[in-house]
């Protein structure tokens, strides 16, 4: 049966709730309402109020409480209604959760799910991609799945992981992306990127919604004889450097693509690693494609100009191919 990206996350959560009675959910409007995007629909009925906790609008308290519950042996999964509001819990995530293991040996097995991303006319506060701030925080793991298969497999791995995991779900993929999922149970390992399309002339390294843009570009340019390899990072921290470097060494050209704004975005980090470790393989400059350094604008023409898209990727890929 075809499963949407959203439904895949719901299934992953559901299965883990069935498997482990210590897994429970905390968040705003997740119970009776089933979540702002309905990711937790039906879970209150199935698992009850003890395990599906509707909270006040208190992001800092929600994450803090999850950390505390995790010390007591529970495995909390938090929903931040929009990732834009994750900043309200920044201290708990970055200073509390991320630093416990290193300081005093206490693991913090929590998962923080956060719907993120633009392309839905959400404006400056319902469209952001805040992953880079957390990728810059040692002690966290950061996941950003692009497909239904990975979303399900990775949410399950995140719940089983003994460190704090941030799980950025792209809102624009929720109902747009579907695929057939295996009947049997599976997980997807954290920290492993995936070559989702093989190619010879250049590599596009990307994640989240941009994976689909990269694949479309690859498809289109195939007709022009340009063979593109697409690497889906899937996990942003820890970075799977090996898969990225292997791909770039093979194709000798790299485009780093993300929806997040360019300065301080993941592209810069990837670029540094490629030039440090694969410089002699390169046949062209490393190219970044990302949103410009502005807030995410609301009005459709501005948002369209802001977001990386097929046209922009195709143009740059042609340019780099010719280089």
């Amino acid at each position: 049966m075809t499963t949407t990206y959203l439904e895949a996350i719901r299934q992953g959560l559901w299965e883990e709730m069935e498997r482990d009675p210590d897994v429970f959910l905390l968040g705003e409007d997740i119970g009776v309402y089933g979540g702002a995007f309905k990711v937790t629909a039906g879970m209150l009925d199935r698992f009850g109020e003890r395990r599906v906790v509707d909270t006040p609008i208190s992001e800092s308290a929600i994450v803090g409480a999850a950390i505390g519950a995790s010390f007591m042996g529970l495995r909390p999964v938090v929903e931040i209604q929009f990732s834009d509001f994750i900043s309200c819990a920044y201290d708990q995530i970055v200073n509390f959760a991320a630093k416990c293991r290193y300081r005093w040996g206490a693991g913090v097995p929590i998962v923080i799910r956060a719907p993120s991303g633009g392309g839905i006319h959400g404006g400056p506060f319902h469209s952001q991609n805040p992953e880079a701030a957390f990728v810059h925080t040692p002690g966290l793991k950061v996941i950003a799945p692009a497909t239904a298969y990975d979303a399900k497999g990775l949410i399950k791995s995140a719940i089983r992981d003994n460190d704090p995991v941030l799980f950025f779900e792209h809102k624009a993929l929720y109902r747009r992306i579907k695929e057939d999922l295996p009947e049997e149970e599976y997980t997807v390992p954290i920290g492993k990127a995936k070559v989702v399309r093989e190619g010879r002339h250049l590599s596009i390294v990307t994640y989240g919604a941009m994976v689909h843009v990269a694949l479309e570009a690859a498809q289109l340019l195939d007709g022009e004889g340009i063979s593109i390899e697409v690497v889906d990072l899937r996990t942003l921290l820890p970075l799977d450097e090996e898969t990225v470097l292997d791909s770039v060494k093979k194709t000798s050209k790299a485009i780093l693509l993300h929806e997040d704004t360019i300065t301080g975005g993941l592209g810069g980090e990837l670029s540094a690693r490629i030039s440090e470790r694969a410089f002699e393989y390169l046949d062209g400059p490393i190219v970044r494609i990302a949103a410009p350094d502005t807030p995410v604008p609301y009005s459709p023409p501005l948002e369209e100009a802001f977001l990386p898209n097929l046209t922009k990727v195709v143009e740059k890929a042609r340019w780099l191919h010719k280089y």
Partner: protein, 337 residues
């Protein structure tokens, strides 16, 4: 008059006693204008796909921004929340700018950079919210601190919902404002829901007002659907704040007569509540008080209403003719030019 007509003996009649025909008609005008503008936004333009972003309206809560907004002096700073459209109207923002804002056109206050009630204009002394609930509270406290610093007699008005009072920013803002005794008027619209979350899941005390004394802030509860009562309470609060006694909290009990946003059918609201609160409609009640006091003839009321509809019709036309921003504007104004 609508089905929600208040009955004789409505406390609004009592609270209206100190008011003049002119004041009452102003209240009525701004509440009706807010209702008309938001009805068109939520029930027409949004459904027609002409508004592509989120829509949150204050249907049933109009007495709060109108009563409080008209108690503010022109130099007082306003920090609206997302259901306080009348504050913009009172400060002279034209409905056409509001429609253009919602439709992402350059005629809107943010030229398409942001949508819905995310708009402000320092010249009008009205500050744009960010989405994160209660983030304005410390900011309003800071504005009030500056007023005292500069020795003005101005006051800051900060608006928020019941749910927002769960945020740490709310508590930190109140506490800072109180220890510094800054001139801050805090206005809560307690519409008993935060998105789908009912008030009893939001807080374990009975009233938002109960929280004021914990910070040394006097608080009172008013009927938030009675514009005269809201206005009188706001005047008391302003008097308190202006005379240097520090912040003052007003909790307006009301009800959100719609979903959280235009896409929310609000199935979680028990049906009887729509009926009960529909009968307490603030506009119907003001209208009733006006007629009962013979402050206007029914024909005059009807004329005000049809005038509003005409104004709104032409405002929408203007907004639809306002262009979208050009993509070349994207990079402008991130910093001072």
């Amino acid at each position: 008059m609508g089905a929600g007509l208040a009955v004789a003996g409505d406390p609004a009649l009592e609270s209206a006693r100190e008011y003049s025909a002119e004041q009452a008609r102003r209240f009525f005008y701004y509440m009706s204008m807010m209702r008309e503008v938001e009805d068109r936004i939520e029930r027409k333009l949004y459904r027609q796909g002409k508004i592509v972003g989120g829509v949150y309206v204050g249907r049933g809560q109009e007495a709060i921004p109108v009563g409080a907004g008209l108690a503010a002096a022109p130099d007082d700073m306003l920090f609206p929340s997302h259901r306080d459209m009348a504050l913009y109207l009172i400060r002279g923002v034209h409905p056409r700018q509001i429609f253009a804002q919602y439709m992402g056109r350059i005629g809107g206050l943010t030229r398409g950079r942001d949508g819905n009630m995310h708009m402000g204009d320092l010249r009008l002394r009205i500050v744009a919210i960010i989405s994160a609930m209660a983030a304005s509270v410390p900011v309003a406290a800071g504005a009030a601190l500056a007023m005292r610093y500069k020795g003005t007699r101005d006051v800051a008005f900060c608006f928020f919902g019941d749910g927002a009072t769960s945020r740490g920013d709310w508590h930190e803002g109140l506490n800072l404002a109180s220890v510094q005794r800054v001139p801050l008027v805090l206005i809560c619209n307690n519409n008993q829901y935060a998105y789908s979350t009912p008030i009893e899941k939001q807080m374990a005390c009975a009233n938002v007002a109960d929280r004021g004394p914990a910070y040394g802030i006097p608080a009172e509860i008013v009927d938030g659907n009675d514009v005269f009562a809201v206005h009188s309470a706001a005047l008391r609060a302003v008097e308190h704040a202006r005379s240097g006694l520090g912040p003052y909290l007003i909790e307006c009990k009301t009800f959100r007569m719609t979903g959280h946003s235009a896409h929310d059918p609000a199935d979680y609201v028990p049906k009887h509540l729509w009926k009960t609160w529909g009968e307490r409609d603030p506009i119907d009640r003001a209208k009733y008080a006006i007629l009962a006091n013979q402050w206007a003839e029914p024909e005059e009321i009807a004329a005000i209403e049809s005038g509003i509809r005409r104004e709104v019709d032409s405002a929408i036309e203007w907004a639809e003719n306002s262009p979208y921003p050009d993509a070349s504007e994207l990079l402008e104004d991130v910093y001072e030019r």
